[in-house]
Amino acid sequence: MATQASFIGQKNKKDQVYTDPWKMMFEAERTPSFFTGSEVIKEAVRRASCDMMVAYPITPQSEAAALCGELFAEGYIGDYFRGESEFAVMSQCAGAAFGGARVFTTTAGPGTMRAMENFPMWAGARLPIQMIVTCRGINSPLSIQPDTLEIAYLMNTGMLVWHAETAQDFYDWILMGYMVSEEPDVHLPLALCCDGFFVTHTKDMVDLTPTEMCLPPYDPYRSPVPCMDMECPPVRMMRDPFVMKSNYISYATHASWQQEVWAAVERSRKHTIRWMNGLIETENTDADVIVVASGTAVSQSREAIALLEDEGVKVGLVKVKTLRPWPGEEIREATKNAKHIIIPEFNVTGWMAREVSATIPNNERVHAGPHVCGGMTMPPEIIAAEIKTLLGMKVPAMAGRG
């Protein structure tokens, strides 16, 4: 097996220094920059030492995918090409990851759904691919607008699923994401989700790490499964392929591997907590009313909480950063004193409310909503109105709501 020396301190062909990731993320000087979410993706990937990116056009991730192409042209990514569909793209990503590459891709909405067969395969094959999901509607009639329904499907694939609120989250988490998902006791793909357009197409101040620093390269030999490059002995995998066998050993093998994949999701907790300072963030959890949200719904909730504060109503906040692993214990603790738990979501089914309801005691406290979907925005006023209604306060009729 090829040995890989420590790369820290060495330079890559773009003169970037492979830097201790902890130093790069927490100690290096940051430069405030005014960028769109798509540009932020490019800037994170520039520093991520990616071997391969496969791209495909679908709104609203097309710009980010094309910007990464510019990075390839500049020499920051080993290889880059446009696949023929999301199903193919995710398989091409898998092929590259099987071959020991650090892989990056982006997708959205219908693309996520078209590629879906790949995701449990990625997790089962323990491929630490990073996929940015810029969520958009998956319904018919055709929609390109923001909607987070696709996340509900991703949550049962065995992938790590994180939900960024802001461009700053996005920047940091892309880089931290590789550090977590490439840990040998994790070694799983990561779906790093954001709400399309709201994060990808708006400009925000983001503190960037220095351009001349980048992550150390991926070491494919720190994997729980062999890298398919013929650099280690080609073991005979099994005497009887399990696929055809209807016997207990076959079932037990499949079952134990699925359990192992989900155990690896749980093992990612300790690394994620270290890098992201917890799976959730909380504010004022002593309040009677607490909002639990992820993604852009958190930002809108912050505004709603400020509006209510002006009216003398104190509301707490739980920002859920990781959906897989699911921070059940953290949410239980943060909401233990709440009388009402409000869960605003950008989707029609309310998957977050279901997850929380399944997690906490006395879940009649959970109020699923408000829900917006199909590209609707979520004005803070409707969150505030929902809370006031719940508290028996008078709510002025809002335009469009009769």
């Binding site: 097996m1 071997d51 391969m52 496969v54 080993g78 290889d79 090409f81 696949g83 023929e84 569909s85 199903f87 193919a88 793209v89 398989s91 091409q92 990503c93 898998a94 092929g95 590259a96 990851a97 099987f98 071959g99 020991g100 590459a101 892989v103 067969e117 790949n118 395969m121 094959a125 062999p226 398919m228 490059d229 013929m230 650099e231 280690c232 002995p233 080609p234 005979r236 995998m237 099994m238 005497r239 009887d240 392929p241 696929v243 055809m244």
Partner: protein, 305 residues
């Protein structure tokens, strides 16, 4: 490269499985002259298989694995089907991921290996059935060729979905009555070799696996052309004796019958101009190597004499 990479630590030798010890002692990794004639003399890279008795696919597997020019640096990509029952027994790295995505996997894999090992030859070979190659995976088969991805695609054409019990496939002959074609298949066998040529493949062969020396030749040509120039495609008839009502002993005859000049598996070959040049160059080198070996043998004989 040689067998170095699979060598067993002395202290652990006795606890390794006998077949692995055998692989270290008698396999032909690193032997540039390896070929089908090693079968029976050296350790094969396939340990066992769980295919039906007499299945021509098992012959094809053995010939192909014996003929890989560079098995120590070859990664194979399979798909779902009877081939996926064999790959777990094969002593080259191989990937099964989903049904039909084999050429997409191979595209990513080949590029990753090129990025990671810019100064080494790492061959990628796809081996999948006709359902995977022509039906569910056709999109990815063709797109890999359009993009000029540098790997070989081998299709084991048994003209139906064998592993799921004999359903109609795109490569099935017109009129054949099968499951899901209850009144006979209504359209012609898809002409993938011609499509392959038009899609940019530099070396295309349509044949059966009745002759091991022929299989060795086309495998070596296809892999060498893919390595240096661009995509190559081999379509090999490996009849499913079970589904066409033949006995275990009749597979070979079925292939011989199907490769007669007027039949659908009569040997057909397409070689692009750059591939012709490469193969001619390689043939000249091989001739020179043999002549040199002969000269050395002669001088040794003289010296002894």
């Amino acid at each position: 490269m040689s067998k170095e990479r699979i060598k067993i630590a002395e202290e652990l030798y006795d606890i390794m499985p006998a077949e692995y010890q055998d692989l270290v002692k008698r396999a032909t990794y690193g032997n540039e002259q390896r070929g089908w004639k090693d079968i029976g003399n050296a350790k094969e890279l396939i340990e066992e298989h769980s295919l039906c008795a007499g299945c021509p696919e098992s012959m094809a597997f053995r010939y192909i694995l014996a003929s890989l020019p560079n098995p120590e640096d070859t990664v194979m990509v399979g798909s779902t089907g009877c081939t996926s029952l064999v790959f777990p027994h094969v002593a080259v790295h191989n990937i099964h991921s989903l049904f039909g995505n084999q050429n997409a996997i191979a595209s990513g894999l080949k590029r990753a290996l090129s990025v990671r090992f810019p100064d080494r030859v790492k061959d990628v070979v796809v081996l999948a059935g006709d359902g995977a190659t022509v039906d569910i995976g056709l999109d990815m088969t063709l797109q890999a060729w359009f993009r000029q991805e540098k790997f070989t695609t081998i299709c084991f054409d048994n003209e139906l979905y064998a592993n799921t019990g004999g359903q109609e496939s795109g490569l099935m002959q017109k009129g054949f009555v099968a499951k899901m074609a209850p009144v006979g298949k209504s359209f012609e066998k898809v002409r993938l070799p011609e499509i392959a040529r038009e899609s940019g493949c530099h070396y295309v062969v349509n044949c059966t696996v009745s002759k091991p020396n022929l299989v060795e030749k086309v495998i070596k040509n296809a892999i060498n052309v893919a390595r240096e120039i661009g995509p190559t495609y081999l379509q090999m008839y490996t009849p499913c004796i079970l589904e066409i009502g033949k006995n275990s002993m009749e597979g070979l005859q079925e292939m011989r019958d199907s490769e007669k000049p007027s039949e659908r598996f009569a040997y057909k070959e397409f070689v692009s101009e750059p591939a012709k040049e490469l193969l001619a160059e390689m043939a000249a080198k091989e001739k020179e190597r043999k002549a040199e070996a002969k000269r050395q043998l002669a001088s040794q004989t003289v010296a002894v004499g």
